[in-house]
């Protein structure tokens, strides 16, 4: 069939239906969530009659037979080829995507924010930062975009992806039906209450909090308990060393770091576990949580990032990170059989809509417009209106900084006020325009329910990405907040930005240098009306008459 239209030369041409649907992934690993998802999609696409291959720049030795080098894609692709680009870390594949023929779409797994790696792993921190820059660059080259959670879709929307939506995450439940390793099971089933955590040892997983909660559980509620940690641990890595040191400092008994385990050993861990504990601060989805549910292990999880969404109201999601309080939840699950049974049953019901047939159907429905070559909705150019960034507005709308932010936004036509949503909800929603009086307020989901010893406004990856992509002038209210520090030096060239700060905190040197003379101090007793007028005049580049 003839081509329907030419969407955009950068995004690839549109034809009626793709003949081949390939996938591009920076690294194909054996056993990780991204690798499993890529393999699942390949099998699904082949089942639907498409030719489908996996292209990667690097791969594990175990995956050698099912992967092709990424550099070969440009040669293999044609006008009727469709490409699904998986993005979860720095890939350096944007140029390849840009010049490849055929249509392209993005599958976003989310990127762990760089703040978790600062001070512990500079290379990974840099990779995380560059991955977010690549996310913005990829926008010009793809026609469709999906993510595996509403939490991640929110960031895609903030980055300027139109019509980004959720693609159901497919879990291969059969892979969990492996008989448990008898030796390990006999070793850990000795009458102790076993608390399990599965995951990589990276700062975002907060193994130190897992250790603290377990120590509290052992000292306050169950002396005969054991912590099982399944995941690679390198004593030479700074973060891993700090975790091992913390174990020595806290001194709990029976903490077992199992390292990398095989499927049978993992089955043994789950089979002997009293509860699954996650204190992770960042998850794009959270497969181990669902795995624990599938295996009938009650889950206690800290409600950060996409965790509440993954849990879907099942298990016990806590918004408190106090070790003694979380330890209480572990104790309740062990000592109250009726409550435990209700939790396990609710978890089983949570998995009901995630059956493979149902998910495959939903994946097909989601991908069909892309596979059939239906053009996406027309892009509307973003209007360069003023954006007032006030992270604390939603938490403290009557604070002087919030009142000033509102006054500035109300003075400028089409201005919008961006803030961080105060509550964590089971299901995050993409930031939408909401009216708060006369002010257009966009509320972004926080990455964590609470943050820091002083309970500052929690960070929001979506807000930071949105600020980096904002088309018009920006006002940081306040300039002393983390979002200003992280974004002000990475704004697009020519962006007009100003800031205001209030004691006792002060903007750091980088913010002072970037904003220069466009930085004001909100001193106690200062007239907000006149200051708002002054700021509005500074930001309103077109010199339009102010609303008030």
């Amino acid at each position: 069939m003839a081509n329907v239209s030419l969407w955009n030369s950068k995004r690839g041409t549109a034809s009626s239906s793709a003949e081949a649907v390939h996938q591009l992934v920076p690294r194909l690993a054996w056993g990780d969530a991204v690798g499993n998802q890529v393999r699942y999609l390949r099998d699904l696409l082949r089942g639907w009659g498409y030719a489908s291959e996996i292209y990667a720049e690097q791969w594990d030795e175990a995956c050698r037979d099912e992967v092709r080098p990424a550099r070969d894609y440009a040669r293999d692709a044609g006008r009727d080829t469709a490409l699904l680009v998986h993005h979860s870390f720095e890939s350096r594949l944007v140029p390849l995507v840009a010049k490849a023929k055929g249509r392209k779409a993005l599958l976003y797994h989310n990127v762990t924010p760089e703040r978790f790696f600062e001070g512990s792993d500079r290379h990974v921190a840099r990779g995380s930062r560059l991955a977010r820059e690549e996310l913005v660059q990829l926008r010009e080259h793809v026609t469709h975009a999906w993510a595996y959670s509403h939490f991640s879709v929110e960031e895609l929307s903030a980055a300027g992806y139109r019509d980004a939506s959720v693609l159901p995450f497919a879990v291969d439940w059969n892979a969990f039906n492996v008989p448990p390793d008898a030796a390990l099971r006999a070793q850990v089933e000795d009458g102790c209450a076993n608390v399990l955590f599965v995951g990589r040892t990276v700062p975002s997983k907060r193994l130190e909090d897992v250790l603290r909660v377990f120590t509290a559980y052992q000292r306050l509620y169950q002396p005969r308990s054991r912590l099982l940690v399944a995941g690679t641990l390198y004593s030479t890595a700074p973060y891993d060393a700090s975790v091992l040191a913390l174990r020595e400092q806290l001194g709990p008994d029976r903490v077992v770091f199992l390292g990398r385990v095989d499927a049978a050993q993992l089955s043994a861990c789950f089979a002997s576990a009293t509860a699954y504990l996650s204190m992770s601060r960042h998850e794009g989805f959270g497969v181990p949580l669902l795995e624990a549910m599938y295996r009938g292990v009650p889950v206690v999880a800290y409600g950060a990032a996409a965790v509440p969404e993954t849990m879907g109201g099942a298990g016990l999601t806590t918004l408190s990170d106090d070790p003694a309080q979380v330890a209480g939840l572990l104790a309740v699950l062990e000592r109250d059989p009726a409550l435990r049974a209700r939790v396990v049953e609710a978890q089983r019901q949570r998995l009901a809509p995630l059956g493979q047939q149902a998910v495959a159907q939903r994946v097909r429905e989601a991908l069909t417009p892309f596979l059939e070559g239906r053009p996406p909705s027309a892009l509307q150019p973003a209007t360069p209106s003023v954006t007032v960034v006030c992270p604390g507005f939603d938490a403290a709308p009557d604070a002087p900084m919030s009142r000033l932010a509102r006054a500035v936004a109300d003075r400028l036509p089409d201005a919008r006020l961006w803030t961080v949503r105060r509550q964590v909800m089971p299901l995050q929603l993409a930031p939408r325009k909401e009216r708060d009086g006369a002010t257009r307020v966009w509320r972004f989901t926080p990455d964590e329910p609470s943050f820091g010893p002083d309970r500052d406004t929690p960070p929001s990856s979506s807000l930071e990405t949105g600020v980096r992509c904002a088309p018009g002038p920006l006002l940081f209210a306040g300039a002393d907040e983390d979002v200003a520090r992280r974004t002000v030096s990475r704004l697009p060239p020519g962006t007009r930005a100003a800031g205001i700060w209030a004691a006792p905190r002060a903007p750091d040197a980088a913010v002072r240098q970037a904003l220069g003379t466009r930085l004001w101090e909100l001193t106690p007793g200062r007239d907000l009306t006149s200051l708002a007028g002054e700021l509005a005049r500074e930001l309103d580049v077109e010199g339009r008459p102010h609303a008030r």
């Binding site: 603290r212 700090s242 040191a245 806290l250 509440p308 408190s320 209480g328 939840l329 309740v332």
Partner: protein, 171 residues
């Protein structure tokens, strides 16, 4: 824990809280000791900045770019410096390639040194906390010992001094 700190539909947050209340209340001393321990082990956030002693080496890690040394000779000196600069400018791509492995090695060495520094910092902190804990426990043990009768000092012991061991061996 408050009901608003829990997200759960079945059982409800209230049901979980009721079950929490039925748990035996932990001994306050244990809770206090635990909180003290958590506070003591709460490590300050690691700085993203390089350790100061590595700053000098870090500034020199990139060997690809270096300005030609200046010269004090009146006429020949500036000409030589200019010639060296021109040479560098012309051959910079080749210089980059020749020194690429050296730069990678320098960065790897710097990372290794930073890692050793971090290990030492963590180790010192662990040792310090361990010593504090031992001292605290020693103090507790000492305070539990029965107080000696008034006027009783180690110098006033009635025990007779032992005779010094004889150097002469008996057969």
């Amino acid at each position: 824990m408050r009901a608003e700190d829990l997200i759960t539909t079945n059982p409800t947050a209230e049901a979980v809280l009721e079950s929490l209340e039925r748990l035996p209340t932990p001994e306050p001393e244990k809770v206090e000791a635990l909180r003290r321990r958590f506070a003591a082990t709460h490590a300050p956030p690691t700085s993203a900045a390089w350790p100061p002693f590595l700053e000098g080496a870090r500034m020199k890690r990139d060997t690809r770019y270096a300005d030609a040394p200046s010269s004090h000779r009146p006429l020949v000196g500036p000409a030589l410096v200019m010639a060296k600069r021109a040479f560098r400018l012309a051959f910079q791509p080749f210089i980059n390639e020749a020194f690429r492995r050296q730069v990678e090695f320098n960065e790897a060495i710097l990372d290794a040194l930073a890692l050793i520094h971090e290990h030492q910092r963590v180790q010192a902190r662990t040792q310090s906390l361990w010593r504090q804990e031992v001292e605290r426990q020693l103090e507790q043990l000492t305070s539990r010992l029965p107080s000696p009768p008034p006027g009783h000092t180690p110098e006033h012991t009635e025990e007779k001094p032992r005779p010094a061991p004889s150097r002469r061996r008996s057969r």
